[in-house]
């Protein structure tokens, strides 16, 4: 309960800050950060809880976004409805991929998800009559219209993004103490013991994957209208998949706010380096990459653990128990 209140407070704070900020630039960076955090949360649901590291999560962003967008374009269906179809499509894909790959362990699963995403990407590129191919789909801006998720003011997207983020975070907070949450915790500690306790391990994992995909897709639906342009190589590309996983682990997979912290850290450095050193060419990328390295070498369990450790030091308490928070 305290968690829930804290989350709502944070949400209100963020929303207020967004509306108060004068610079559209800041707000759009914040919006991008919120979406990334949202995807990180969804990723964390699967990988943080079951330890299956997916490097193909962007595929759910792409599928949900494309389905919604095509329904909007070709059938004039409002993204509010089309989004449901889009998310359904993402879930369906997750069920297929999950059923096939979730029995795989460690790197096998990771590379399987990576490949599945790559296959979907090349299909999107190949069937260009339907998807617009590599040129992607630009969303022509007509006029402000909530039903079409079209807003001139970035703050509208920002509000939607942080609200979705808060909602998903709340959901996860309760999810952990739900039936499914308990099952997942049991599976994480030992699949053998979980099965012995009557848990249908395979089924639960696929289900979790689907929920994760649904939340990722939810973000994708709004996101594509935020950037107003569906670029397959970006939406379904490895870069986005990697970023999603990256920020979740950077924040600390064991923590509810991990992905949020991670996203803020990552985007701040990214935007900062780009603003300061972008003109220099290469420096921004280098700094971004190496600051991640520096972080891992300092605290492999991520920023939250790092903060805890520091706090513990200041309070002269022993730091949190060693050992990795994700297995």
């Amino acid at each position: 309960m305290r968690r829930a209140i804290a989350i709502c407070a944070l949400w209100a704070l963020a929303a207020f800050a967004g509306l108060a900020t004068k610079s559209d630039y800041l707000v759009s960076v914040a919006t991008a950060t919120a979406f990334l955090a949202l995807w990180g949360q969804s990723w964390n649901l699967l990988s943080g809880l079951t330890g299956n590291i997916s490097l193909g999560h962007s595929v759910f962003v792409a599928v949900a976004a494309y389905v919604t967008l095509l329904l909007f374009q070709d059938a004039g269906l409002s993204p509010l409805l089309g989004g449901v179809a889009g998310i359904a499509a993402a879930v369906l894909l997750a069920a297929v991929i999950g059923a096939a790959t979730l029995r795989l362990k460690g790197p096998y699963f990771t590379l399987a998800t990576l490949s599945a995403a790559a296959v979907v990407l090349s299909l999107i590129l190949h069937y260009s009559e339907l998807t617009g191919g590599p040129s992607g789909i630009a969303i022509p801006f007509a006029e402000d219209s909530p039903a079409k998720l079209e807003f001139t003011n970035v703050r509208a997207y920002f509000l939607i993004a942080v609200t979705l983020l808060a909602a998903v975070t709340l959901f996860l907070a309760f999810f952990r103490k739900s039936r499914l949450g308990f099952y997942i915790a049991a599976i994480k500690s030992s699949e053998e013991a979980a099965a012995a306790a009557g848990i249908h391990v395979a089924r639960i994992k696929v289900l979790t994957f689907c929920v994760s995909a649904a939340l990722t897709g939810l973000g994708g639906v709004v996101y594509v209208f935020f950037i107003g342009f569906a670029d397959p190589n970006f939406l379904s590309g490895l870069t986005l998949s990697v970023e999603i996983a990256l920020i979740a682990v950077v924040g600390g997979t064991g923590y509810l706010v991990g992905p949020i912290v991670g996203a803020v850290f990552y985007e701040t450095i990214d935007a900062g380096a780009n603003a300061f050193l972008g003109a220099a060419g290469g420096w921004d990328v280098m700094i971004l990459g190496f600051s991640v390295v520096a972080l891992v070498m300092t605290e492999p369990r991520g920023l939250c653990a790092l903060a805890q450790g520091v706090a513990a030091r200041l309070a002269r308490r022993p730091p949190p128990p060693a050992g990795e928070s994700v297995r």
Binding site: A32, I227, F234, F265, I269, G278, A294, V310
Partner: protein, 407 residues
């Protein structure tokens, strides 16, 4: 270690915030800001570098020539920013530049995905942008009249390649009828391919192979065997530098005698000449700009530009650089004409402008003006042929300065 990290972290965060809040920089009255937003990191960084290099030259030249006279000799000041390699990056960078500094106009973006993504930001801030991206889809009413395309349309490239083939056929009685098209599967490749296809039919060419290939291939031999199987006599490859290199190498190894008429990009970059040595000579390609076309040779000022570029950056002045130099000059001319640094006025000036002299005349055929959709009305792609390791303009006659040697 932890200490170091924390301090560096605070530094980064603080820095970023500083960068953000120090946003609205007060501009000296005698200075006009122009944004140059190009991919300066990631796989297309080299394109961005060419653009930045040339833009700097252009600004220098404008300023040494007394700046913007209608603004009391105000100096051009370039605000250079990294559009990164993905739409999200292009959008945030554009937002940042346009929010933080009151620019009179912008140049760059270079790739159509980046341009498409960033365009709404320009419309929102009422800032005109000149792009060097070539996709036809960009210059339509949907761009709200804020996008100006200085380079020829993608389809025009394809058309020119086919025209050139017709020309060669007549000149050398080559009797080429079977054509193969291989294009990189991205907007640039597709746009160009469309152009070739359109005209090929009219020109009575029989297209025996027309296939896209994925970006960033590691081996071109499958492409070559496809071409050989197809029995094509001419190959129209639309490739970036890395694929272009692999393709030409693979063709040579397979000692294939197919005539190659390159689709620009990779086939005209300094790197391809530098890597193939004198084996590059004879290679022909389309280009959206070339350094020695008639309009340039006939004007010592412009000829000097190309010369200065190669002296400063010790490679000849490539396509992307030429467009950037012309683009910045055109912006300067528009500001001059508008007599104001207000982007809205600059935009109107751009729409009505007709540049016949100065840096803008660097674009073939020596004149630049934009139609209602922002397309460059006069511009035409040129055909180049590598002769003693530099691309020479050999077609169309209107701008050609060297005779084509039988490829």
């Amino acid at each position: 270690m932890r200490k170091i990290f924390l301090s560096s972290l605070t530094l980064a965060v603080g820095g970023a915030l500083a960068a953000i809040f120090a946003g609205y920089t007060a501009r000296a009255a005698d200075q006009v800001d122009i944004a140059v937003i190009a991919p300066l990191s990631g796989p297309n960084a080299s394109v961005g570098e060419m653009i930045v290099n040339a833009s700097k030259l252009a600004a220098e030249d404008v300023n040494t020539a007394g700046g913007i006279k209608s603004l009391g000799g105000a100096k051009l000041n370039l605000i250079i920013a990294d559009a990164t390699n993905d739409p999200q990056g292009a959008i945030t960078t554009t937002e940042r530049v346009l929010t933080q500094s009151k620019v009179a106009g912008a140049f760059g973006l270079a790739l159509s995905p980046l341009t498409t993504a960033a365009l709404p930001a320009f419309v929102k801030h009422h800032v005109p942008v000149i792009t060097s991206a070539i996709s036809d889809a960009l210059v339509t009413p949907s761009n709200g009249g804020y996008l100006f395309q200085i380079a020829p349309k993608g389809s025009a490239f394809g058309n020119q390649q086919v025209e050139f083939l017709k020309f060669l056929n007549e000149k050398y009685k080559m009797g080429i009828t079977k054509a193969a098209i291989l294009y990189v599967n991205n907007p640039y490749g597709i746009a160009t391919e469309k152009g070739i296809e359109q005209l090929a039919q009219k020109a009575g060419l029989d297209i025996v192979l027309n296939s896209a290939y994925p970006e960033s291939i590691t081996d071109a031999s499958p492409l070559v065997s496809k071409v050989q199987q197809s029995g094509a006599q001419v190959l129209f490859p639309v490739s970036y530098i890395s694929d272009a290199g692999l393709l030409l190498t693979a063709l040579r190894s397979a000692n294939s005698h197919v005539l190659v008429i390159g689709g620009g990009a990779g086939f005209i970059w300094p790197a391809i000449g530098q890597s193939l040595g004198d084996k590059v000579n004879g290679l022909t390609s389309v280009a959206s700009w070339n350094l020695d076309s008639k309009n340039i040779k006939s004007d010592p000022k412009l000829a000097a530009v190309a010369a200065r570029y190669s002296k400063t950056y010790n490679t000849f002045m490539p396509e992307q650089a030429g467009e950037a130099y012309a683009g910045i000059s055109v912006l300067a001319a528009a500001i001059e004409a508008a007599g104001s640094a207000d982007p809205a006025k600059v935009r109107l000036a751009l729409q009505t402008l007709d540049v016949k002299s100065g840096g803008g005349a660097l674009m073939q055929p020596g004149e630049v003006s934009f139609d209602a959709n922002g397309a460059n009305t006069h511009v035409m792609p040129v055909m180049i042929q590598w002769q003693n390791n530099v691309p020479h303009t050999v077609f169309p006659e209107a701008v050609a300065t060297s005779a084509v040697t039988k490829p």
